[in-house]
Symmetry: C2
Subunit: 359 residues, 2 copies
Amino acid sequence: MTSQTADGGRAPSMQDVARLAGVSLGTVSHALNKPEKVSARSLQKVLAAVEQLGFVPNSAARSLAAGSSSTVGLVLTDIDNSLFVDIARGAEDEARTSGHALLLANSDIDFKRQESYLDIFDEARVAGILFTPLNASLEGVDRVRRHGRRIVLVNYAGGRQDCCAVLSDEEYGGYMAARHLLELGRRRLLFAGGPEEFHAIKERRNGALRAVMEAGNATLEIIPSRRLKSDEGRKIAAEVTGRAADRVPDGILSPSDRIAAGVIHELMARGLRVPEDVAVIGYDNNHFATEVAISMSTVAQDGHSMGAEAINLLLDEIRNPDHEHRVLTLKPRLILRESTLGPSGRPVPEEDGRLPLEA
Amino acid sequence: MTSQTADGGRAPSMQDVARLAGVSLGTVSHALNKPEKVSARSLQKVLAAVEQLGFVPNSAARSLAAGSSSTVGLVLTDIDNSLFVDIARGAEDEARTSGHALLLANSDIDFKRQESYLDIFDEARVAGILFTPLNASLEGVDRVRRHGRRIVLVNYAGGRQDCCAVLSDEEYGGYMAARHLLELGRRRLLFAGGPEEFHAIKERRNGALRAVMEAGNATLEIIPSRRLKSDEGRKIAAEVTGRAADRVPDGILSPSDRIAAGVIHELMARGLRVPEDVAVIGYDNNHFATEVAISMSTVAQDGHSMGAEAINLLLDEIRNPDHEHRVLTLKPRLILRESTLGPSGRPVPEEDGRLPLEA
DNA sequence: CTTGCTAATTGAAGCGCTTCATCTGGATTC
DNA sequence: GAATCCAGATGAAGCGCTTCAATTAGCAAG
């Protein structure tokens, strides 16, 4: 309770604590880090002194002396995308249970920032780094690994097998989405939007294609777009509704919820019924997916698990001397809502029998 | 280019660089930190050695020796709310221009996490902390300040004048929103949703009340809700549309875009026209505010400026010996879209003559 | 009362850097 | 050519902690 204002400016050090408690420096350190190695009496005295001085350990000194710190750094691509928010939460929860703090850095889809934050964590000698890289390049990964830093890739790995990674099965997600539309009886499918140079989007498209091929009697049209925003969806919806009736798609899947939201709203504005006339399904289960005019079916990647698993891989790499790198690929889940099922809109069991999670 | 794998495991230190470059330790340090104090020849040699060894400075050692680090910590309340995302971006941009890195920590609306991250930044002896506190308590602020840590409050300050803060004028935001509805000729206003114990929400309500009082011939009904999610909005909309025609509000303002989105969608689902029958305005200009069925009018707090200004206050506190604490209160902006203006929906100049920004 | 052992405690070495007082050597001046 | 300077370079002292070898205290057994 009692703690004194910084007299003399300097924050109290362990030395000060030791003096006040009448024990040696080493004992204070032990008392704070491995209390079981210290007599109850000393422990008592040390804690009292800590309290009285308002002592806060200096983590710079600690990690300098110990050779490494206990915080984990997470370099995020885009804090505005709820997938990454979920990843951060999952990582944070898991890190916390093992006594590690998680610090975030947001690269904001900027390659140079991404690299610079990698370096900052590297310089800070963090216990490890979780990294959701941009497509572009993984050179930063090699750089920090050369310095002995441990790093786990999340959400994208560019095919690397030489470090741990947690991925989402994008191809399968696209497959499930298309297959769901096909099972609803839709045959003229449209894959709406997305820049093809993104690995994830290409995969989702491939998955959709596979489902359509399997079905045999269906078609998949593909209209790419440059960005992933909702106006692209509106534009695409406007275009296809202008067509002859037999060329209007009856099922639309989009690699992003934003685009899907644009599609849905534009279709409705033009008098088409969703899902009766056109069923629409998005991707990502963004946190706003239920705030749309009609709640949106989508493919959910379990960001929380991705973050948590990534931490586990990292901890194994840290603690286990004969650690072997592993790449975990998590299956996404279908989440069915009104935009494909209609107002009855309650979730139905998905393929493998589990109930999809409600957001 | 050439850099060698960690032989011997140990990362190369400045000592190693000095040896290889054939200069002293001190010279290496100078070359790296204040190159102008060093001859061109030494600089050359040092940089070459750094390159060859793949040397990365140890920031723990640096901040231990220097007494403080150059990173700034930002403790965020809720990474899922785009206001905080904007604050983070603004802070990050501004910090970067002055050579400070910004590390984020997400308390996820959890008081204990919030306090623990405050401590982590405190222990790391960061240059300063930006803090968006929960209502609950500001005791962590006092704790870290006692240790000499500098801290700037963002978005909420609980009336404190003894530290720097950047706030948003919530009362004025509520006032503007209500006043806008009144200027559209609406007279039966409804303030929809929000837990009243939140300071910001109470303020917004007070502002709305003030506008209605000023108008004289209008009424403001208030229906609180426990949470800020869209289903609360749907519930409220469902309730009021069930009423006798002359008791249905013709203008609804909500302290959150989520609630407003629920209101809009439910009204439309029940056959009411927005904005012809009921004009609706939200609050926060969340990033999904344009992904709604009809784009949503809202009150925008300029998170980016809040973050940037907070960094500036912090830097002044760090650098300026006769710094004085200041509380900055930023005015929010009205952003007018279809949900109050109708399909013409283009932005009109706001009160002070500036054009509202499009999201 | 010894002896032997373990549990606690101690103090010093060192982690990798910054900084400051000190020293060096070449250019400048008279 | 001696005296004066000053940019540059140097090396040691510490920053606050962890850790380890060495020491001491505490206690049961003989």
